[in-house]
C-alpha cells in the first residue's frame, strides 16, 4: 500500500511554519520534500516531519544563534502561555511510571528556568519576546531557550563589576544576591543546582560563553567556558 503523503500546506500546518519556510528548507536541504514523478509539487511523509520536529536542541540553538524559524508548537510568546503548557506537561509527567513524586521537581526546574526568562527580560527583549519550550517525555528531555539579555547583562544591573559570563553564571547558580531588587534571579537557580545534584536529573545550561554540565553520577557543579557565545540562555534537562 502506498504511504499517504502530506501536501506542503498540511506539512506547514503540522510544523507550524510558513509555506515559504518549507520551500526554503527544501532548497537548502534542511528538510527535503518529495516530488512525485518529476513534478514540482512538494510532499512530505508524516514520519519524516515527526523526526524532524523532534530535534529540539537544534531548533533552540539555531533560534538563539541566528534567529532561525522553528515549529510554532515550541514557542511561548508570553508567560501565561508558558504556564499553561507547563501545566500540561506536569499532568503528562505525573502519569509516567516512576515519576509519581519526582514530577514536581522536574516541573520546578523547568518552571524556574522558563520563568526567569520572562521575569528578567520583561520590557527589555532585544528582539523576539518569549521563549522556546519543547519536551519529549518518552525520551526524558526538556529544552528551554530565550533570545533575551542573558545572565551577565541581567546580573550586572546589581553587580556592575562582574567580569565574564562564567563568573556571572557561577554567581547566578551559587549565591544569594543580597538587596536583590530589581534582580531576583539568584534563589531559583540555586535550588535548581541543588535539586539536579541530588536527583536523577541532568542539566546543561549555557548563557554567553558560559556552560554548566551536570550529568551522570559525578555531578560536581562547575562552570566552563565554551567555544561559542550564546545569545540569551539555553537549557536542556534530561531525566
Amino acid at each position: 500500500m502506498e504511504e499517504e503523503l502530506l501536501t506542503i500546506s498540511q506539512a506547514a500546518e503540522y510544523l507550524g511554519v510558513s509555506l515559504n519556510t518549507l520551500r526554503r528548507w527544501d532548497e537548502s536541504g534542511k528538510l527535503i520534500a518529495i516530488k512525485k514523478d518529476g513534478g514540482t509539487h512538494r510532499y512530505y511523509r508524516e514520519k519524516d516531519l515527526e523526526i524532524f520536529a523532534s530535534d529540539m536542541m537544534k531548533f533552540a540553538s539555531e533560534w538563539i544563534k541566528d534567529g532561525v524559524e522553528f515549529p510554532s508548537r515550541f514557542y511561548c510568546p508570553t508567560s501565561s502561555i508558558f504556564n499553561a503548557r507547563l501545566t500540561k506537561m506536569e499532568y503528562e509527567l505525573m502519569q509516567k511510571p516512576g515519576f509519581e513524586k519526582l514530577y514536581s521537581l522536574i516541573v520546578l526546574i523547568a518552571g524556574e528556568i522558563g520563568d526567569n526568562s520572562f521575569a528578567h527580560n520583561l520590557g527589555k527583549w532585544p528582539d523576539t519576546a518569549g521563549i522556546f519550550f519543547g519536551y519529549d517525555l518518552a525520551k526524558g528531555v526538556i529544552v528551554l531557550a530565550d533570545r533575551g539579555l542573558g545572565v551577565l547583562e541581567t546580573l550586572r544591573q546589581v553587580r556592575p563589576q562582574l567580569p565574564s559570563h562564567v563568573v556571572a553564571v557561577t554567581v547566578a547558580f551559587t549565591e544569594f544576591i543580597s538587596g536583590r531588587a530589581p534582580e531576583k534571579r539568584g534563589n531559583g537557580l540555586k535550588l535548581v543546582r541543588e535539586v539536579v545534584t541530588d536527583q536523577p536529573i541532568d542539566l546543561f545550561y549555557t548563557s554567553g560563553d558560559a556552560e554548566v554540565r551536570m550529568k551522570g553520577s559525578d555531578k560536581k557543579f562547575h562552570v566552563t567556558r565554551g567555544q561559542r557565545i550564546v545569545r540569551g540562555c539555553l537549557a536542556k534537562i534530561e531525566f
Binding site: 506536569e90 514530577y103 514536581s104 516541573v107 520546578l108 524556574e112 544569594f176 531559583g188
Partner: protein, 99 residues
Amino acid sequence: MKLQLEKFGKTLISRELGSEAFKAFQSTLRELSKDEELEIDFSGVLTLSPSWADEFLSPLFDLIGSRLVLLSSDNLSVHATLRILQEVNKRPFIYKQTS
C-alpha cells in the same frame, strides 16, 4: 485561619503570579486577628517554585512572623522550596504536624 494554597492554583511557578496572589490575599489577611495564627495548607498543590513562594510566603513571613504556621506536606517541590526560602530569609518556618 487556614489558607488552602491551592486556591491560587495547583501549579505555582511564576514570580509575577506569586506577587499577584500576595496582593489578592491582602483583603483576607486583614480579617486575621492580632493573636491568630495563619495556617498554610499545601495539599492539592502539585508544584511550588521558589520564585512564586518568594513573592508570597516571604513577605507574609515578614508581615506576621511566628504567626505563620506551615502544615506538613509530602510534595517534593514544596520541601525543596521551603528549604531554600529558609536559607534566603535566614530563619526557619514554624511547622505544625498534621495527624
